[in-house]
C-alpha cells in the first residue's frame, strides 16, 4: 500500500483502533461515539468492531462522564473520553481542573489518572459564537494535565497512542478544519515524541510559531513570503503543556524575531505566554518586538466574511511579518 493517503480523521480512528486492540483497558466514552459513528466520524465503525461495552455512548452529561472517565482511570482502565467540542468541555471544567489536574499532587502522589480527553476545537465552519471557541490556553494554564495539539496527519496517527501510554491526564485537541486534511500515510518516524515542537520549515528571518489549525495558514504564509525574499522559519508547537521552549528559544536566537499565530483571542492568549517566554529568555537576541496574530476580541460571528475577519488568516500573517521587517529611516 505505497503512497496511500490518509485523512486526519482516519488517522485518529486507526490510532484508537490500534490502541484498543493492543490493550483491553482502553475504552472510548463520549456522546454519539457509538451508534452515530462520532460527530466528526472519527469513531465510525468502531462500535461494530468493539461492541457497546468498549465504545460507550454517553448521555449528554459532560460533567458526569468526564468525571466517570477520571474515576475509571483511577480504577485501572485506560479510558479515552471524547467531549464533542471544547465548547461543551466547559460543563466538565470542574472535573478536569478540580479533579483530574489535582488529585495526584493533592493526594501526595498516590493516585494515578491515566486518562485521555479528546475534543474538537476551533472556528472556520460558520458555527457562530458558542461553537467556535479555541480554549486550549485555559487548559494549558493548569498544572497537572498535559495538553496536546496535533496539527498533522502523522501527529494524529501517532500522538494519540503516546498519550494513552502516558500515566498523566492528557487533553488532546483536534482542530475542526484539520479533519479533512490528508497526507501520505505517515510512518512512526514522522512523529518523534509527544512533547517536542517541530520545525516544519527552516528559515532565517523570523520564527513563526503556531499550533493546531493555524499550522496550514502559517505554512502558506511562509510560502508567499518566500516569494518576497523573506525566509520564514515555521515551528509547530505540538505540545502546549509542556511547551518545548528549547526549540523555540533556539529558533528565535537564530532569527531574532518572533511572530505567534494563535486562534485564541489575543488577551490572555497562549501567544502572550510565548511572547513573555521569549522576552524573558531571548531578550538580547531580539531585533524586533515579539508580536502575535490572534483572533479579534469579539465572539466569533456566523457570516463567513466576519468569521474570516475575526480569525487569523494567511494575509494577516503575511502583513504582520512584512510590517515587522519594514525598514524606516528617520530624516
Amino acid at each position: 500500500m505505497i503512497n496511500q493517503s490518509l485523512t486526519y480523521r482516519e488517522a485518529l480512528r486507526i490510532a484508537i483502533e490500534e490502541a484498543m486492540n493492543a490493550d483491553e483497558r482502553v475504552v472510548l466514552l463520549g456522546e454519539d461515539v457509538g451508534n452515530y459513528g462520532g460527530c466528526y466520524a472519527v469513531s465510525k465503525g468502531l462500535s461494530e468492531t468493539f461492541g457497546s461495552n468498549r465504545i460507550i455512548d454517553t448521555p449528554l452529561s459532560e460533567s458526569g462522564f468526564v468525571g466517570a472517565g477520571i474515576g475509571a482511570a483511577i480504577g485501572g482502565m485506560r479510558p479515552i473520553v471524547e467531549i464533542m467540542t471544547v465548547n461543551f468541555s466547559l460543563l466538565a471544567l470542574d472535573q478536569i481542573v478540580n479533579n483530574a489536574a489535582t488529585i495526584r499532587h493533592m493526594s501526595g502522589n498516590q493516585v494515578s489518572i491515566p486518562l485521555v480527553i479528546r475534543m474538537a476545537t476551533g472556528a472556520g465552519k460558520q458555527l457562530a459564537a458558542q461553537h467556535s471557541h479555541s480554549l486550549e490556553n485555559w487548559y494549558a494554564h493548569v498544572p497537572g494535565i498535559k495538553v496536546l495539539a496535533p496539527a498533522t496527519v502523522a501527529d494524529a496517527r501517532y500522538m494519540l497512542g503516546m498519550a494513552l501510554k502516558d500515566p498523566n491526564p492528557v487533553m488532546f485537541f483536534e482542530h475542526v478544519m484539520l479533519y479533512n486534511e490528508s497526507a501520505t500515510t505517515p510512518a512512526p518516524e514522522d512523529c518523534p515524541d509527544m512533547c517536542s515542537a517541530i520545525v516544519r520549515k527552516i528559515g532565517t528571518d523570523i520564527s513563526l510559531v503556531t499550533y493546531g489549525g493555524s499550522l496550514p495558514k502559517a505554512l502558506e504564509a511562509a510560502r508567499q513570503l518566500a516569494q518576497q525574499d523573506v525566509s520564514v522559519e515555521v515551528i509547530d508547537l505540538r505540545s502546549l503543556r509542556p511547551l518545548d521552549t528549547d526549540t523555540l528559544f533556539r529558533s528565535v536566537e537564530k532569527t531574532h524575531r518572533l511572530l505567534v499565530v494563535d486562534e485564541g483571542w489575543r488577551t490572555g492568549s497562549l501567544a502572550g505566554e510565548l511572547c513573555a517566554l521569549v522576552a524573558e529568555n531571548c531578550f538580547w537576541s531580539l531585533d524586533a518586538p515579539p508580536i502575535r496574530v490572534c483572533s479579534e476580541e469579539v465572539p466569533i460571528p456566523y457570516p463567513k466574511h466576519l468569521e474570516d475577519a475575526v480569525t487569523p488568516q494567511v494575509a494577516k500573517i503575511v502583513e504582520a511579518v512584512l510590517g515587522l521587517l519594514k525598514q524606516e529611516i528617520v530624516s
Binding site: V27, N53, I56, T58, P59, S61, S63, G64, F65, V66, G67, A68, G69, I70, G71, A72, A73, I74, G75, G76, M77, P79, D94, Q95, N98, N99, I103, R104, H105, M106, S107, G108, N109, Q110, V111, S112, P114, P143, G144, K146, K165, D166, P167, N168
Partner: protein, 337 residues
C-alpha cells in the same frame, strides 16, 4: 422524617449483631467524636488551618456504612470526611498529621482537612467541590464492572449535593450502566446555612433516586445499627449484581458547617433537641440500660481513645513539613505504565 422502605431483593432482612460488635460500634463513634472535639480545640489554637468541617453528631453514618465494606471496596467522601477516614481504618496518626500539614500526613500534608487520601485503604478523599466526587465514584464503579470485579464503590455526600447537576448525571449514569455503587446521602438538613426546605422541591432524597430507578430508602442516621443493617443489605445486593442503590441517612450536625459559622440559620433549641437523640448518647443509653456497659468500661474506652488522640498529636507535632524542594513531586507522573 419517615423511613420509606423500598422493596429490595435481598436474602435476609436484618443482620445479626452481637454485643461485642455493638460495643465496637460505640467505641468507633466515640473515637471519632473525641477526635473531632480535639480538632476543634487545635483549630482555635491555629494548629490546624484552612477550613475545618466537623462530623460531630453524624458519627453513626460513617461507622455504620463502613461495617458493610470489604477492604477491596472503595470510598469517596466530602470535605467532612475525618470520621469516614477513621472509620475506614486510616491511621489516626496520619490523619492528624495531614491536618497539621506535615509530610507524614495521609496526603503528605498537601491536602489538609478536606483532602485525605489513602489509596491502600481505597479511600479516595476528601473532595472540596460539592457533588464533585459523584462522577468519580461512578467512574471507578464502571472500571470495576469492566474488569469484572465484585467490589462496591461507596460515595458519601450531603443533601446539598443533590442540587448540583452532577448528582443527577451520576445517578443516571449509574443506573444506565448498571453499576455496582452505593450512594449514601447524609441528610443533615442544612447545606452550609441553607435549609433543605428552601432548596429542594422534593425533600425526600431517596425519592429522587427512585425516580432514576435506583433501589433507595431512608434510615435513621442517628441509629448506627439501623445504618449498618441497611448498608449491609444494599451492599449484598450490589455485590449480587443488582445495580446501584442510594441510602438516605437522616442525621444532624451539632456544630456549625465549619468552625467559622455563627449558625444564624437555625435555632438553638433545634440543636439541643437533636443532641438529646445523638448517636453516641443513644447507643450509650441502650448499652447502659441493658447492663452492657459499666462505668469502668466507659472510662477505659475514653482513656484508650484519649491516649490514641494524644499519641496522634505528638506524632503530628513531631513530624516534619514536606521539603519545599519536593514541591513538584506528583504534579505529573514520570513513568510510563
Amino acid at each position: 422524617m419517615q423511613t420509606d422502605t423500598n422493596k429490595i431483593q435481598t436474602g435476609t432482612n436484618k443482620i445479626h449483631m452481637d454485643i461485642a460488635h455493638i460495643k465496637f460500634l460505640f467505641k468507633q463513634m466515640l473515637r471519632i467524636r473525641r477526635f473531632e472535639e480535639k480538632c476543634a480545640e487545635l483549630y482555635t489554637e491555629e494548629k490546624i488551618r484552612g477550613f475545618l468541617h466537623l462530623y460531630i453528631g453524624e458519627e453513626a453514618v460513617a461507622v455504620g456504612i463502613m461495617q458493610a465494606l470489604k477492604p477491596e471496596d472503595a470510598v469517596f467522601g466530602t470535605y467532612r470526611e475525618h470520621g469516614h477516614a477513621l472509620a475506614r481504618g486510616l491511621s489516626m496518626d496520619n490523619v492528624m498529621s495531614e491536618m497539621f500539614g506535615k509530610v507524614t500526613g495521609s496526603s503528605r500534608g498537601r491536602g489538609g482537612s478536606m483532602h485525605i487520601f489513602d489509596v491502600e485503604k481505597q479511600f479516595y478523599g476528601g473532595n472540596a467541590i460539592v457533588a464533585g466526587a459523584l462522577p468519580l465514584a461512578v467512574g471507578l464503579a464502571l472500571a470495576n464492572k469492566m474488569q469484572n470485579k465484585k467490589n462496591v464503590v461507596v460515595c458519601f455526600f450531603g443533601e446539598g449535593a443533590v442540587a448540583e447537576g452532577e448528582f443527577h448525571e451520576s445517578l443516571n449514569l449509574a443506573k444506565l450502566w448498571h453499576l455496582p455503587i452505593l450512594f449514601v446521602c447524609e441528610n443533615n438538613g442544612y447545606a452550609m446555612g441553607t435549609a433543605l426546605a428552601i432548596s429542594e422541591s422534593e425533600q425526600h432524597i431517596f425519592r429522587k433516586a427512585q425516580s432514576y430507578g435506583l433501589a433507595a430508602h431512608a434510615v435513621d442516621g442517628m441509629n448506627v445499627v439501623e445504618v449498618e443493617s441497611a448498608a449491609s443489605q444494599y451492599c449484598n445486593s450490589i455485590r449480587n449484581g443488582d445495580g446501584p442503590c442510594l441510602l438516605e441517612c437522616n442525621t444532624y450536625r451539632f456544630r456549625g458547617h465549619s468552625m467559622f459559622d455563627t449558625q444564624l440559620y437555625r435555632k438553638a433549641d433545634e440543636v439541643e433537641e437533636w443532641k438529646s437523640k445523638g448517636p453516641i448518647k443513644k447507643l450509650k443509653r441502650w448499652l447502659e440500660a441493658n447492663d452492657k456497659l459499666s462505668a469502668d468500661e466507659l472510662i477505659e474506652i475514653e482513656d484508650e481513645v484519649a491516649a490514641e488522640i494524644n499519641q496522634a498529636i505528638v506524632f503530628a507535632e513531631g513530624s516534619q513539613l514536606e521539603e519545599i524542594s519536593d514541591l513538584y513531586l506528583g504534579v505529573y507522573a514520570e513513568e510510563e505504565s
